[in-house]
Symmetry: C2
Subunit: 452 residues, 2 copies
């Protein structure tokens, strides 16, 4: 059953009132984070020095499946939510596939990506708890721009460490953060011990999310009344992003369909978890058989080629030890343009789900991702973020498989953001100046062996 309607939008009263906490429903709960010194399991209070308290509680909550969205946060969501669910008729036609392809268009947020969904509650809880300054890291700048705006909204000062390669590749995102009044520093910088340490050893290091996280945490823990915020990886970030999947559920019902596959690109797991978890709930509780596919870059393949073990979330080792698929916290990813996917590890919920075969992962090379992005742009009129191109590439692979087999499957993917700020990378792609990056097993093993 389906119809010819292209876009599905929810009335304002249908915007979710609760975030969905999949931890409560998981058969195998994620293992606890560990104190690196004692290797004792952490409690929520142990994270209070770094994050707003309520976010720490959400992080460790394995019992409540539904967590109420504060009215002030929901009011802010209304500025851009619900985001449209779109039937990608143009892409279906371009591929000649019998599959029905839908995408959730998170690019319509004023910051151009899904990141605002978590930036708003994080800034809100900080404000509620009397925090005056927030710090964070950002790769491509989508998270940094969202936090800069959310901080401004609640009257907080924001300091952002932006991965140096992205700071240089994507100057417009820096300008956006500065327009909102945030202080932006390229990472690694000489302003922190973590930054100095790595620059001393690798003077030309172009940065990674792991390093930028270290710098931001260091600033937060050494500044009075300042908290750190993170744009992905952590449980509470994926929790906030579940507004995406909850809306998509209702919108798919409006379209009279239910997804056979749910696909999202994968950096730390927040946009993937955001769209996948509300649907995965039905797999867990009702035995639905939807496939969930995380699309990661071939040059940073923690899910497809990493190891499941306890590792640090940042380069300098300031975070607790997290049980996750990782390439090792010192892994230096290639300089692909999907800056938001250049992270060595995966969130602990997703790591457990992958271990339990509740989901799958595929890796996508840079050229395949941009080919998919250009095809999508020409078919649907929206230029996707380089990160989102990975989800599109994985979708195209599945849609082509449907074509080969004559199967009319329903595919839903998350368009996590638009690429209007990333046109320099499209320029390079169209000019033939982008490349793939090969990673040998030995490269990966060498890095994992270096873990203490």
């Amino acid at each position: 059953m389906s119809n010819n309607q292209k876009r599905f939008i929810l009335p304002e009263e249908e915007i979710p009132r609760y975030w969905y906490n999949i931890q409560a429903d998981m058969v195998n709960k994620p293992l606890p984070p560990l104190n690196p010194a004692t290797r004792e399991p952490l409690k929520a209070e142990d994270l209070f020095p770094i994050f707003a308290k309520e976010l720490c509680r959400q992080e460790m909550n394995q019992t409540d499946a539904w967590i109420e969205i504060p009215d002030e946060v929901r009011d802010m969501y209304k500025y851009y939510r619900s985001t449209p669910l779109v039937r990608a008729f143009g892409l279906e036609k371009a591929l000649g596939t019998p599959a029905h392809i839908y995408f959730k268009n998170e690019s319509v947020s004023p910051m151009g990506s899904h990141k605002l969904n978590s930036a708003i509650p994080q800034a809100y809880y900080c404000k509620q708890e009397g925090v005056t300054n927030v710090t964070t890291e950002t790769g491509a700048g989508q998270w940094g721009a969202s936090l800069a705006y959310a901080a401004r909204l609640f009257g907080l000062e924001a300091a952002v460490y932006q991965v140096k390669i992205s700071y240089e590749q994507k100057p417009y995102r820096r300008s956006i953060m500065q327009t909102f009044g945030a202080q932006v520093t390229p990472s690694p910088s000489m302003s922190t011990r973590a930054g100095k340490d790595i620059l001393t050893v690798h003077p030309n290091y172009q940065g990674s999310l792991g390093t930028a996280i270290s710098e931001a945490i260091e600033l937060a823990t050494t500044t009075p009344n300042c908290k750190y915020t993170l744009g992905s990886v952590l449980n509470h970030v994926a929790l906030h992003q579940t507004v995406i999947g909850q809306e998509a559920e209702k919108q798919m019902a409006m379209a009279g369909e239910y997804p056979d596959m749910v696909i999202a690109c994968f950096g730390g797991g927040s946009n993937f978890g955001g769209i996948a978890f509300p649907f995965m709930r039905h797999n867990i509780l009702e035995g639905k058989q939807t496939r969930f596919i995380a699309a990661e870059p071939a040059s940073c393949p923690k899910l497809t080629r990493g190891k499941f073990l306890y590792d640090f979330g940042d380069e300098a080792g300031y975070t607790p030890l997290l049980p996750m698929f990782t390439l090792g916290h010192n892994f230096a990813p290639a300089n692909i343009h999907a800056g938001g996917l250049r992270y060595h590890g995966a969130g602990v919920i997703v790591s457990q789900l992958l271990k339990d075969k509740m989901m799958e992962a595929v890796d996508i090379q840079q050229l395949e991702s941009f080919e998919a992005g250009v095809l999508f742009a020409r078919a649907e009129g929206i230029i996707p973020a380089p990160e989102s191109c990975h989800a599109i590439a994985a979708t195209i692979r599945e849609a082509n498989r449907c074509k080969e087999r004559g199967e009319e499957k329903v595919i839903l993917f998350n368009l996590s953001g638009h690429g209007l700020i990333d046109m320099a990378s499209y320029d390079k792609f169209l000019a033939g100046d982008l490349q793939n990056y090969e990673l040998t097993d030995a490269d990966i093993q060498r890095n994992l062996d270096a873990l203490k």
Copy 2:
């Protein structure tokens, strides 16, 4: 009467089925365009060599108030319309004004501006009439990007002449056009007689919309099966844009309000006419007293300081003579960042309405426009296009007047586009590197005297 709702969205079936042709309702109709050689009034057929036939008919139609939107076009509108009407609570608070400020958010179109509203029907009619190639000009690139996408949608080849200063200031917009497969040439170029002529006299000329129009028309009229398309100025372009005002009418009713003022930035008049004409209809037919305010750049002030006379629409004199407020078709505007407003003339409908005092115009300096844009961005989370900043600046002036007088007026402005591709200009503004441009009466008169 009002409420606390922030965004108003129409159900899909409420998207307009007709464009509103204000010419039919105008008491004083616009004067006819003239053949430059004979000075005889033109008929629609005289324009057939340049434009698709149906567009020529729409251009000259002074009798039908409602022109049906083809189903194929309306289907494409559904991909992004209705656009939200937003109550700017954040801006109201920042200004401390009792005014109720609303904006129509045309920036949510996939191309980031209102321009797609006319690009789609223009490409559609070309396709219907067997055209295979379209040409156009673009300033900042919003129109060019929209036409490039619309051409791709209907399987047409697109060639775009982009004003050289914008081609250099805004490389991302060129990349967007190229991603959609359009051929983009900086104007003036050596590829046309019009371009060569001006480059011979002014080798470093940074271009203007008037020159780019000449080049695009020349290419269209010397290429088989090729038509020219224009992104503003002409009656049929403003006609297509009336979907904006028609939606806003219904959405203002949802909010329980009616505007005392309608404000838009002004380049050639399409976004202004688009939002204003459906409301102006009620002034004409029912005696409503809404004020309509066009905000133009102080460096290109055709409405506030130009003369009403017959002039060419382009620099080289390829167009018919149009009865309009103009600074003279050889006027070389200063290199402001609002590239879409750098045009010497005003559409003939708007020119007649201004002459008849049915509307007003104000001029805004570059620094005031960016101050307004940054204030708006920080209050509402959306970074406005430099063009739209002019509408915001005019809105802020009026909202401050309401504050001085304690008047709770209702102001509606059109947010014609976002500024995510224009961050380089925000960078310069924040760094103090932008300037105002003063224009003396003698400068203006000298140029008008040069008209034959």
